[in-house]
Symmetry: C2
Amino acid sequence: MIRAILFDIDDTLFPSTEFAESARRNAIRAMISMGIHKEENELYAMLIDIIKKKGSNYQNHFDLLCRELGEKRPARYIAAAVGAYHNTKTAIQPYPEVPKTLLSLRESGYKLYIASNGEAIKQWDKLIRLQLAIYFEDVFVSEELGEEKSQSFFRKALKRIGCKPEEALMVGDREDADIVPAKAIGIKTARMLSGKFKSNPSVADFQINRISEIPTILKSLK
Amino acid sequence: MIRAILFDIDDTLFPSTEFAESARRNAIRAMISMGIHKEENELYAMLIDIIKKKGSNYQNHFDLLCRELGEKRPARYIAAAVGAYHNTKTAIQPYPEVPKTLLSLRESGYKLYIASNGEAIKQWDKLIRLQLAIYFEDVFVSEELGEEKSQSFFRKALKRIGCKPEEALMVGDREDADIVPAKAIGIKTARMLSGKFKSNPSVADFQINRISEIPTILKSLK
C-alpha cells in the first residue's frame, strides 16, 4: 500500500529542458539586438560549448562568451543576455496536468514529497514559481542531504518521512538518478518519458508520459 | 549652445527608490507566505537594518535575515524572497514622460548620454528593462570609468563625447554626485527633485520635477 509519493522536479513537473533551451535562445537574440554582429546559430553553438565546458550551474557563461567574441565593453551584452535568460526562466509553467493531479493525490490521502538533485534555493525557486510548493510535505534536495540521488539519499528521505520502501513511489525522468537507486532499495518506481533521456531504456516498474497516469498506477498497486 | 545631455538613471529616469522599497516589501511578504511567523513591519525593519549594515549591493541580505531568525532550513524562504524581489525589480517602468522626452530631444539633434554610479551590468540591465538603451550614444558607468561621479569622471566623459563643458547639460537627482562636480567644471546642471533627496537644497542651474521640462531649459540656454 503506497502512502508517500516522491517527485523529481526538472522534466517531471515542468518541461525544464525546453525552458532552458528557449532561455538560451532568447539570451542570444537579446545580445544580437544590442549590437553583437554574429549569426544567431553560430552564437548559440558557442554558448552551448561554454555550458558543456563549465557546467550548467556556472555563473558567468555570458561573460565568457563576450570574452571569446573579443568584446572590450561587454556590460551591455551581458545585461541583455542575463535579463532575457531570466525573463524566460522565471516564466516557467508546470506541465498542464500537474496541479490537478497533485491536488487529487492529496485529496486521496497521499503524502507528497520532492526528491531532487541540485542547489536547495534554486529548486525551491522553481517550486514557488510553478506555484506547486504548497502540495509537498517536505522537499529533499541533494545539497541539503549531502549527496546526490542514490540508495543512501533515498534511505535518508524515507527515514525522515517515516515510511517503508514498499510504501513509497518515486516518479522521475532520469533512469540513473530517479529509477535505479530507488528501485534497488525497494521503492516502487515510475519513469516519466520526457526531456533529454526520453528514449533511454528503463527498469522502472511503470513508464508514463504524464503524471496524470499516477492514480491508475496507484490503483494497480492496491 | 548645448549639444550633449547626460542623464543619471536612478530616480531620474525611473522611480528607483519606490521600486526598491516595493521589492523589499514583496520579498518580506513572500517569506511570510512561505511560513515565517513574524509580523511584516518587524521583518521589514530587520531587513532594512541588514541593508544599512551591509550596503545595498551585498548579495546575501535574505540569507542573513534567515540566520538572524534562526532558520535551520532557509532555502525555501530565501528562494521566495529573492524571487519576489526580482519579480518586482524586473518590472521597472520609466517615469511616464521619459520615453517621449528622450525621443523629442533626439529629433531636435541632441546627443544623449548616461552618467551613472554603480556596476556596469546592473545599470545596463536597468536601461534595457526600461526600454531606453537605444536613445543613448554612450553610457558612462563609474565601474568602467574607474571612479564615482566627480569632476574627473565628468572630464573623462566629456573627452570621450568630444564636447566642451559649456556644451553639456547634466540631469540628475543627487546634489553631491550629479550637480556639484558637474557644475564645478562648467557643465550646465538640472536637478531632478525626486527620490530620497528631493528636499535637499541645490546649487543647480535649474530645478525640475520631471524631465519633460528639459526642452524649455534648452530654449532658455540658446
